[in-house]
């Protein structure tokens, strides 16, 4: 019935992912969703994995086929992160050769079989409380990956923020009817946006740092991190007045080394930009 499926290729060139179907023991037309748990086996150990860490693809001593249980959204290495995305393209009972291309042109190749889908949940059907728990997990994983794999941390924070937004407006959520209070969801959202600001600063996407830290202007006591990151973004956008006003949201900012350094940088650049402006005016009207 699914003969046409054998040899079928799926690709995501941007991520360097590819999958080719080798065999299929068809039982039902089901694939794992991003919120699911599965059992899969590694049929052929990976080629070219090198020193890249993976919870699942590390070769066992005797080379035996390994059966693994996996819950999506728990990866903390890039290989396992992409392994999850590949598995989401598997039909139940499918054996496929998978590959992950690297920046240096290495092709990491391995063969997997999706043995079971133990749970499969449509994300739009999760309750607000379930969405909160999932977003919190994504945030935690993002924090774990931030130092070594900032791009993947960024992705986790983005996914977490998006999940929470599906229950906006938060002020309508109550513990009694949604299992979680809107204020708790809002607090997590603000933490995630603060983490996003760190990622976006690394990417030099300063306008988007401003977007994600808008709460700094309205929250009563925004965190120092969020204030600092917003001010840095204003500084890079040459909005020196706004940068200075932002750091002043922290009452004792002058006692903090990072803030003082930023204040000095703002002052110097501000002065220079004034001097620059004056020289332009002088040239134009002299």
């Amino acid at each position: 019935m699914m003969e046409w499926y054998i040899g079928n290729v799926w690709q995501d060139k941007t991520k360097g992912l590819s999958k080719k179907v080798m065999t299929l023991q068809f039982s039902s037309l089901d694939k794992p969703l991003p919120v699911s748990s599965v059992e899969f086996s590694v049929k052929k150990a990976p080629l070219n994995l090198g020193a890249r860490p993976s919870k699942y693809l590390a070769v066992s001593g005797d080379g035996a086929q390994q059966l693994h249980s996996l819950t999506m959204g728990n990866a903390t290495t890039p290989i396992d992160f992409y392994l999850e995305l590949l598995l989401q393209q598997f039909l139940l009972g499918e054996t496929s050769t998978c590959s992950i291309e690297t920046k240096t042109g290495d092709i990491i190749e391995f063969q997997l079989k999706l043995e079971r889908i133990t749970s499969n949940q449509q994300v739009e059907k999760l309750t607000a409380a379930e969405i909160y728990d999932l977003a919190l997990r994504y945030k935690t994983n993002g924090v774990a990956m931030f130092k070594d794999y900032p791009k993947f941390a960024f992705d986790y924070f983005i996914q977490a923020a998006k999940l929470l937004i599906t229950y906006k407006p938060f002020d309508k959520l109550t513990k009694a009817s949604n299992g979680i209070d809107g204020s708790e969801v809002e607090a997590l959202f603000v933490q995630i946006q603060t983490n996003l600001a760190a990622c976006l600063l690394q990417e030099k996407r300063y306008e988007h740092v401003i977007y994600h830290t808008d709460f700094v202007d309205t929250l009563e006591n925004p965190s120092e991190k969020s204030v600092y990151r917003r001010a840095v973004a204003f500084y890079h956008l040459k909005e020196f007045e706004k940068a200075q006003r932002t750091i002043e949201r922290v009452p004792n900012y002058e006692e903090k080394r990072e803030f003082c350094k930023l204040r000095d940088n703002i002052a110097t650049s501000w002065k220079n930009s004034d001097a620059h402006y004056k020289s332009v005016v002088q040239r134009m009207f002299s």
Partner: protein, 215 residues
């Protein structure tokens, strides 16, 4: 295993061919939108293509499977407006029938005369189950119909579209800032249309992220 694969085999097609089908049985329940009215087939027995289109619309699983067994090409049958069986399954949110059709190699990106894909059809009726299924099986989340309407634009026209908007906006491939031929993003339409517009914030470019190739 899905229940779509479990019914007993009989010659349903033969029964169907001679069945006296009561008039009015083929009228769809969505006649609140004149533009989207599907034509009533007064004589679905006239051809096997018309029969499968009718059977899908009536959620008749065993007949659909029987017809496909008789002639697998009927999976690509089209009505006068270009709707395929998969379009019909998706605007009715008949997920199990949609699965059988996909299993028989239905094109998830088939186009109606107006350029609608089955995903457009699912979104028009906030059928998130079918939208999710289609995206898992190769539907183009950014497909543009005539008028450059993406499935997200269609979703945004529905007042309470929380579920389909969630499915589409959480898809990793979505380009949520696409403009239609009125130069509007889906978010702009959503703001005008109804209660689900806060969700369209997900489509803001500040949420763009691509992990790309690994080291």
């Amino acid at each position: 295993m899905g229940d779509y694969d479990s019914d007993e085999e009989k010659s349903q097609v033969e029964k169907l061919r001679y069945a006296k089908v009561p008039r009015g049985m083929f009228v769809s329940g969505w006649d609140d939108d004149a533009d989207e009215l599907i034509e009533e087939d007064k004589n679905p027995q006239a051809s096997i293509e018309r029969m499968i289109l009718w059977a899908v619309n009536e959620n008749r699983m065993s007949e659909v499977r029987e017809i496909l067994k008789l002639d697998a090409d009927t999976v690509n049958a089209r009505d006068n407006d270009g709707y395929t069986p998969l379009h019909r399954a998706c605007y009715n949110n008949f997920v199990d029938i949609a699965k059988v059709l996909l299993q028989h190699h239905a094109n998830p990106n088939a186009r109606t005369e107006l350029g609608w894909t089955p995903l457009h059809s699912a979104c028009k009726w906030n059928n998130s189950d079918c939208a999710q299924l289609l995206l898992q099986f190769g539907a183009d989340v950014n497909a543009e119909s005539d008028g450059q309407q993406t499935p997200l634009h269609i979703t945004a026209t529905v007042s309470n579209c929380r579920n389909t908007a969630t499915v589409l906006l959480l898809n990793r491939n979505i380009q949520a800032q696409t403009l239609n031929n009125s130069e509007e993003t889906a978010a702009v339409i959503a703001r005008r249309t109804g209660m689900s517009y806060p969700i369209f914030e997900i489509g803001h470019e500040a949420y763009d992220c691509e992990t790309g190739l690994i080291d």
